[in-house]
Symmetry: C2
Subunit: 271 residues, 2 copies
């Protein structure tokens, strides 16, 4: 949402956080698809013109189903993240004159098992190899606000170590929680590698992909919002499925501004 608002300040955004059923990263594909479907229908009922699946697990597991079932553009975060990683690996190869480094994916169990990043990178480059590591403890660490010190460092080292050892010098933050641990991930990775490691966050790449779809008129671009006519609540609607205790504070932190009031909703029964 933060990246989208920076890239596309005139667009109205409806955000749905399924806080009553997170985390999705440990759930089976069937359950992720059911949950994704019920979330998508809530957003469709709000009259959205495009759906951004701002979750790696859902992008990895349910994007094809959503695209097949829904009659609007559905944008995931995997392809933009993979493109960015391929660019970074190619740039490292060009700079060193050697072969490209491997691309390392740090993700949830669901994302890693789906091999969605492997397929996305393979579609973009035939010479890049992908290595992956499921990092189930990083989401709870971020949720707990445990972002510095020995525990997150040791946890990050346990997950990043095998990727660096297998030659990854580009790391994709394959979960929307991980950017908050980016400083530790970058420093642990570079300490273990003894050289530069590029860390890729797919948020900016995704926002820029959406802007590109607007340039190509796949998604209609909104007319500029007038500051006087639109209350902040019209520009950004925040919906969650559990009581929004603590959510508002975290939303303010993530978005760097005081966000409109968070609304709690019920999800329909998954089909």
């Amino acid at each position: 949402v933060h990246a989208l608002r920076s890239a596309l300040p005139d667009e109205r955004i409806v955000y749905l956080g399924d806080t009553a059923r997170v985390p999705y990263g440990t759930r089976s594909p069937g359950t992720v698809v059911r949950y994704a479907r019920s979330c998508a229908h809530v957003l469709l009922d709000h009259g959205v013109k495009a759906l951004v699946v701002a979750c790696n697990t859902v992008s990895a597991v349910a994007l094809d189903v959503l695209r097949a079932e829904l009659d609007l553009p559905v944008i995931g975060v995997i392809d933009p993240g993979a493109s960015e990683a391929v660019r970074a690996a190619d740039a490292q190869a060009a700079a060193s004159g050697g072969p490209p480094p491997r691309v390392g994916i740090l993700g949830t169990v669901g994302t890693v098992h789906s091999r969605a990043y492997d397929r996305a990178v393979a579609r973009l480059s035939t010479r890049l190899e992908v290595v992956s590591e499921a990092a189930p403890l990083l989401v709870p660490l971020v949720e707990e606000g445990w972002l510095e010190g020995q525990v997150p460092e040791l946890a990050v080292e346990r997950y990043v170590g095998p990727l660096i050892a297998r030659g990854a010098r580009v790391l994709v933050l394959g979960c929307t929680h991980y950017p908050l641990l980016r400083p530790i991930i970058q420093s642990v990775a570079e300490r273990l590698a003894g050289e530069r490691v590029d860390v890729v966050d797919s948020a900016l790449a995704t926002a820029s992909a959406i802007s590109g779809l607007m340039d190509r008129r796949v998604i209609e671009r909104s007319a500029p919002l007038s500051d006087s006519a639109d209350a902040p609540a019209e520009r950004l609607k925040l919906l969650v499925t559990d009581q929004p205790v603590g959510f508002q504070r975290r939303a303010d932190l993530f978005l760097g501004e005081h966000t409109p009031e968070v609304q709690q909703i019920d999800l329909p029964t998954p089909a």
Copy 2:
């Protein structure tokens, strides 16, 4: 389930694990009540004669609602755990001749915020003081199988440290996941305290409370199961709401035997 089967080998058990929506410990009370209600109705449809709420968060938050709404005995894990803690604290006071130690509760955010252990201990003893610490990272550590080494030790120290510093010498494992970290919790607690610390696991106390209800005929005791007539699947039914990948292996580990096949079910929409 393991404690119940040891204490009451003739009873048939239906177990429901809401694996598609765990963990409950971070959810708001309203959501926990809704989820608990839908789980209870599935078990009632299986014709159970008593309902054991084998989860501290649900016991802390939803027990009164379930008892008010359901027409059968509903047993939680908080009261049995609190009784055991009071016994241990009184025994320490008797042995030392001094005042009783404080009782420390290690629990989820939901359990600690509910103050259910404080109330349960206060009902049993007017002289015992309770101190609590929410330990949100311990469930993910157990789920991840990260049961020894520096990370769980540092995490346990972070949560147990404040309890020991405030005088707790009896620690209640206020979440059904924590017993798997019991060796670390006990050793960290005794290292920090420099003396003996009693660690209370409510599973055995709960099973023994249920056996007591059967002695007092609040719950009917079943006739002995004949070994030949009842297949293992009749003695223990395991239901889960997400795909049972990995669950069977963990069930075997927890129960110390090869368990019957795990069945995936859908939950009705919460009322």
